[in-house]
């Protein structure tokens, strides 16, 4: 815009003009920013938000019966739960049962009803085999095929399995169930496993995190205080484990720690022990392997924070009369809190989801939640349980994170 043109035109109020220009400049910048993050946002939505959403949904999803036997389900919803359902409902059931042979519906319904009671798949098969083409009285016909159809509990259980949303998987993941009258109760003591699995998962992840912190903090401090030449060399050693795959490292621990492995042999050879120690396929092995794998994730954030803390703080504290140890704890350590927070959260959350390592180097009593998730997905095809276990783990993690965040924020007073 030339100066002449500006001078010739009656001037708009300058600030309005300015605002417009600012807005236009800002809009362009905003578009650029959106354009830059769009691919990542899209990627995250497709591979992260949607799968997690669908997993959360699967933990309460209960549409198997409704999708295969919509009329039966509708009829059962009207039923008051005493005696037997109406004749029309049973007729619909018979018709839908016959149709369910096509398209795999029968398997789906059988599997779902088996979660209520193991007899259902067989019962459905038997009934289907004996089902006549037509009947005057479906109630009577069904009871004749199998007396189970004449029992109120059978229909109650089917009724209970039919609403489109259920909390049974989530309850089961917490060793809870609905009683006969719909109240929540603990399951029989000998069947309870998940509470202890969750507890065990937390204990292992927490223990690994603490060990990593105890081992990683001094090393990170050393790395941050050594001259760059030496610390770079050591840093390569810290990162060395990343060069081999997790599976290889885990397998290597089995070889090292087994009864006639290197560790036991050298301990016996040096006369410290007489009989080999059980170091693998138990909790010790799990800790060894997991700490080894996760240690760099503790060291790196600690190192990056410590690198930024000037040594003059400790010198200042010492010059003010503090003993070097006091100076370290009162002045240096509090400044590393953001690194400790990042490192522990990172290691803890990664450890929570560990599956391969405990599966390989742990015993039956060392399997973590992920093992059961994998079991339900791969072996029994029970997506509801897998999703429910996963969701509860996610919820627990978020809860712990919130508590932790609160705690750390209260202590972490460094604002940059």
């Amino acid at each position: 815009m030339s100066t002449n043109a500006v001078a010739a035109r009656p001037e708009a109020p300058p600030e309005a003009n300015l605002k417009k220009q600012l807005k236009r400049a800002d809009r362009l910048r905003k578009f650029k920013a959106i354009g830059l993050v769009a691919p990542l946002a899209l990627f995250l939505i497709v591979v992260f938000v949607l799968p997690i959403g669908s997993m959360l949904w699967r933990s309460v999803d209960n549409t198997e019966l409704e999708s295969v036997m919509p009329r039966t389900v509708a009829g059962l919803q009207q039923w008051d739960g005493s005696g037997l359902p109406e004749e029309a409902t049973l007729a619909a059931f018979a018709a839908e049962l016959r149709d369910s042979r096509r398209g795999g519906g029968l398997g789906k319904v059988g599997r779902r009803l088996n979660y209520e009671d193991n007899q259902y798949r067989g019962l459905l098969m038997r009934t289907l085999r004996g089902l006549p083409a037509s009947s005057e009285n479906w109630t009577q016909t069904l009871v004749e095929i199998d007396p189970a159809w004449g029992e109120t509990t059978t229909w109650r259980e089917i009724q209970r399995a039919s609403p489109p949303v259920t909390d049974r998987y989530v309850l089961a993941s917490l060793d809870l169930e609905r009683g006969a009258n719909g109240e929540i109760q603990r399951i029989d003591a000998q069947d309870r496993i998940y509470q202890s699995v969750f507890q065990r998962t937390m204990v292992i992840a927490g223990g690994v995190t603490l060990i990593c912190l105890a081992l990683g903090f001094p090393l990170a401090y050393l790395l941050a205080t050594l001259p760059p030449k030496t610390s770079n060399m050591l840093m390569i050693l810290v990162l060395l484990p990343f060069w081999t795959s997790l599976l290889v490292r885990t397998a290597a621990w089995i070889i090292l720690l087994q009864s006639n492995g290197l560790v036991n042999q050298s301990l016996i050879a040096s006369g410290i022990i007489d009989t080999p120690l059980q170091l693998v396929f138990n909790r010790i092995g799990v800790f060894f392997a997991m700490v080894h794998i996760l240690l760099p994730f503790m060291i790196l954030p600690l190192y990056s924070v410590m690198k930024g803390i000037s040594p003059s703080y400790q010198r200042a504290a010492v010059s003010l009369g503090a003993h070097p140890f006091a100076a370290f704890w009162q002045v240096y350590a509090p400044q590393t809190i953001s690194g400790v927070a990042a490192g522990t959260i990172l290691v803890f959350i990664m450890a929570l989801g560990y599956y391969i390592t405990p599966a390989l180097v742990g015993g039956p009593a060392d399997q973590m939640v992920s093992y059961y998730v994998a079991y339900y997905t791969n072996t029994t095809n029970n997506w509801g349980m897998a999703a429910a276990l996963g969701s509860i783990l996610l919820a627990l993690t978020l809860l712990l994170y919130l508590v932790y965040h609160r705690l750390v924020n209260r202590k972490q007073l460094i604002r940059s």
């Binding site: 000037s310 003059s312 703080y313 010198r315 200042a316 504290a317 010492v318 010059s319 003010l320 009369g321 503090a322 003993h323 070097p324 006091a326 100076a327 009162q330 002045v331 509090p334 400044q335 972490q412 007073l413 460094i414 604002r415 940059s416």
Partner: protein, 372 residues
């Protein structure tokens, strides 16, 4: 080197701090500090001045206890300090970037040295409160250091090093991070504090004007050796050698030879057939090579030079206008960086670059210094 002579003559009482033949090397080959002898008396403001790598900070760190002398001793009054750990020395220290603890408030920072000394709570609060008033930051007591301006942080660092009433304050380039105006104000503030509280201060800087402004005595370091230790006036007026002359203030240097000596005066020839009267510096005799040192503000131009005993022809290269004065860069006796500093009022505007001018000075404005 006149390290010891100028010291012991001025004061006969026991010095507070004494460096005795201190040497320091980091690699076993090069001495960072060579045979250092230095006494600091109670109530003195002593500045260690020098370019980077001259050993001044190493000296301060040895005094603070963060470095150990390779040989020699450091005494505090009659106590040998070498084996006293830094946290037991009871020196207040102000660091280059203040080193205020970022996770503590201003108040907590100031309280820290008192708490480590386990003083009674009431006394701690009284002292913290007093010193907050003194540095006028009471309303900032609950803030964190990062929420303060550079000057305020500097004052907090000062307060923290003063609050436990140490017998010695060490300052390691404490004003380096401040802008020029603030730096000059803080220089005066520190100087006034020193006078009011009767502090003993050892101050390290590479800024010569800072050293001249604040100090009772300045020790000029170069290459691990104290080149001269003296009052600011004497350093400027009577530099002991060419390095000091060059480092303190502006200076014109001309290489020459001592022709004749008469007491403190001498005659020096330089360039091609030039000669001037000069004050004889230390360690010089007839026939020695010398470097003449002339301050730019003592060089007079044309009319102002007519009455002066030493007058020479120079050629003007350029003028640099600096508001209150003008720098005239000339070529004189083969040195084309010879500067005269002329008050703007005295300056004749007819002068052009390329003109020949007459430059003049008095005998006593020239020092003949050791050429090495």
């Amino acid at each position: 080197m006149l390290t010891n002579t100028s010291l012991s003559s001025s004061d006969h009482s026991t010095p507070l701090v004494r460096f005795d033949a201190v040497q320091k090397t980091y690699d076993g080959e090069n001495l960072v500090v060579k045979d250092l002898n230095l006494s600091i008396h109670k109530g003195e403001f002593v500045t260690l001045l020098g370019p980077s790598g001259s050993g001044k900070t190493t000296c301060l760190m040895m005094l603070a206890g963060f470095e150990v002398p390779t040989s020699g001793d450091i005494f505090l009054e009659s106590q040998r300090l070498n084996s006293v750990p830094p946290h037991k020395r009871n020196f207040g220290m102000v660091f280059q970037n203040y080193a205020l603890f970022p996770h503590m408030t201003v108040e907590e920072n100031i309280r820290y040295p008192l708490k480590t000394r386990r003083l009674p709570a009431a006394e701690i609060e009284r002292k913290v409160s007093d010193i907050l008033d003194m540095i006028q930051l009471r309303e900032f007591a609950k803030r964190r250091p990062t929420q303060l301006s550079g000057g305020q942080q500097q004052r907090v660092a000062l307060a923290r090093s003063l609050v436990f009433e140490p017998q010695l304050i060490l300052m390691d380039e404490p004003l380096g991070a401040l802008d020029k105006q603030l730096r000059e104000r803080m220089q005066l503030e520190i100087k006034h504090l020193h006078q009011q509280l009767g502090l003993t201060v050892v101050f390290v800087t590479h800024d010569q004007s800072e050293a001249l402004t604040m100090s009772d005595r300045v020790a000029v370091f170069n290459d691990g050796v104290i080149q001269q230790i003296d009052t600011p006036t004497n350093l400027y007026e009577f530099p002991a050698n060419a390095f000091v002359a060059q480092f303190i203030g502006e200076n014109n240097t001309l290489p020459g030879r001592v022709e004749s000596v008469q007491g403190h005066d001498c005659r020096v020839s330089f360039g091609e057939g030039f000669s001037t009267g000069a004050l004889l510096g230390p360690n010089l005799a007839q026939g020695d090579a010398t470097r003449l040192s002339i301050r730019p503000e003592r060089v007079k131009l044309n009319g102002a030079a007519t009455q002066l005993p030493n007058r020479l022809q120079g050629k003007v290269h350029e003028f640099i206008y600096l508001g209150d004065h003008l720098r005239v860069r000339c070529e004189l006796a083969g040195n084309d960086d010879f500067v005269a500093r002329v008050p703007v009022d005295d300056f004749s505007s007819q002068l052009q670059p390329g003109d020949i001018v007459e430059l003049g000075w008095r005998n006593e404005d020239v020092r003949a210094l050791n050429a090495s």
